[in-house]
Amino acid sequence: MSAYQNLEQMKGDFYTQKFEAGKQDGTLIINMGPQHPSTHGVLRIVIEVDGEYIVRAEPVLGYLHRMHEKMGETQTWGGFIPNMGRVDYGHAMAWNWAYVGAVEKLMGIEVPERAEYLRVIMTEFNRLTSHLLWWGAYILDLGAFTPIMYAFDDREMILDILQRPSASRLTYSNFRVGGLQMDFDDKCIELMKTFIPHFRARLPMYHDLVTENIILRRRVEDIGVIDQDMCRRYGCTGPVLRGAGVPYDVRKDEPYSIYDRFDFEIPTQDTCCSMGRYKVRLAEMEQSMRIIEQALEQLPSAEGGHIVDKAPKPAMKPPAGEAYFNVEGGRGKIGVYVVSDGGKVPYRIKLRAPGFSNLSAFAEAATGTLLADAVAILGSLDLIIPEIDR
């Protein structure tokens, strides 16, 4: 027998009831999502709104929980790699790398030099697609319908390039323990070399059309201040942290793979607002291109193949122990922690998603702003909900 005999008794679900407990007079409680055009994925935010001003906001997660970490306990080591492509479809290769890096650390495998270069090039291209998608979708949320089309024009070119070595366009799973699935062919490298100058010539147009636009600037400047103290309390990383002025990037501060061979900068902005985070991401796109150029130059002199000789089979058995590997993703610091008990199935995999920490800063950043600003702040945090819910 249901506890609720009468529909009227069931006044909202658990979250709404708890949220309503602290309601002030004269305010309205609205649900943004889980079906909403601007929350990028299935995110629900319960907002208490006084006229147009947000008094309290609380994200409710779990609508997209697919138990990736539990799947890690039932899949073989090699068979878990496709999962990592689906956790965050924006920067799938970074998640692939984090997992594969952790397993390689556990097994003591050294990846050949050429494979490292290929990984760097592909991950940086993937960072470009992730930022382009973010840029287009952010401006779409703010009401302009054309910049997303221009961004997708460039993004499709990158997807065509990345399709060659991986046969995928969005949910890449071409990393293997010990290297990559396929090597680049000559056509791929040629396309990459022609793409960089083409995209460099397009970036000024993005700035002219959108960044300098006074309407956008008024929507985005000084909105959603997340300063250094807030970042430290919530554990924000990535462009959110760099937009607050802290020059922390995993590629420079805890270098992994061959990132110490490249000369690139960490863009930061001191304004701590959404505009700062926006500018950081656009500057990161330029830095990614620098890394790719240098890597393409150094690639012919790299030794080895695209995968280590006698690469472990998918049903490999790493020695018992634990390893943690972190990687700079498009959203922040991605970490994967694996525990092995010597079997062919992991004992525990823990995924550290940067979006989870970034989103938790939203509640504090959005208090006191207008409802329209909530959308601007959410967009500037660059959330991909599947990685938050895992």
Partner: protein
Amino acid sequence: MNAFLSNLIPLIIAAVAAMIWLGLNALVWVYCERKFAGHIQRRPGPFEVGPHGVLQPLIDGLKLMGKQLLTPDNADAVLYWLAPLLSMLPVLLLFLPIPYGPVLIGMDVNLALLLILAFSSFNGLAVILAGWASNNKWGVLGAARAVSQTVAYEIPLLLTVLTVSFMTGSLSLLDITVQQGGHIGNWFIWKQPLAFIIFIIAMFGETNRAPFDLAEAESELTAGFHTEYSSMGFGLFFMAEYGYMVVMCSVCSVLFLGGFNGPFPGIEGWWWMLIKTYALLSLMVWARWTFPRVRFDQLLNINWKWLLPLATVNLLATALIMKL
């Protein structure tokens, strides 16, 4: 009796012509907007239905008519269905006093401008009814925003229109057009450039078009005041929006761009009016697909802090110069 009939029959013909004109414009501009949007975004736009997609709006209209007319639970049915009608009907009236050609005018009233300004305020009432009667939190929020926006942007509109009528001494649109006759130098845009710019911006605000379209094309508040409408209810709001756009652009071309006058004397015709109106409509479509949306308080700021003082200063300056 005879006088009554001889006044009534042309009026009825004009009203029918206005309905046809509105329908045609809605069809043409729905198509043009989607095609412009497509080409700005470097994609084809509607292409399949009819050659190059020209029958698309017709089929869309038929589709809308074929859908089910839903009334939400606990909604006030009378007000709910009154709102789209109230939005649509004044548009027909607004077309009547606009001179589309030297003899192509529905009714030549002395107070044409007053008529137009007065009846275009009905849109605000319709929006509030729609939002309130929908029994939907998002609808109410959207309607509240839309009403304060519409009411606010009418004032600079009124002030700029007053400026022009100060200069011409008449509120009749036919009169204003005739006074801009002759060559292109007579058009009022040269004498009142500030008023022209203010009118254009106020036009965007009045018709809820981007970048001032918070009431409708929300990515924040789903669909604002017309969230709950389906089928022809939505269709009527849609048509009414295009109708208001055409009316406002026609009024702008009459007031500032010389109406049906050509650049040289002696070649007046309805085609000039059409070209000018459509050029302004293209500008509205172009701006929609380029700019992001303005936030609500910034929208009101633009009106109360920029447009209103500028329009007032313009009016006072015009009055001063006219006196001297």
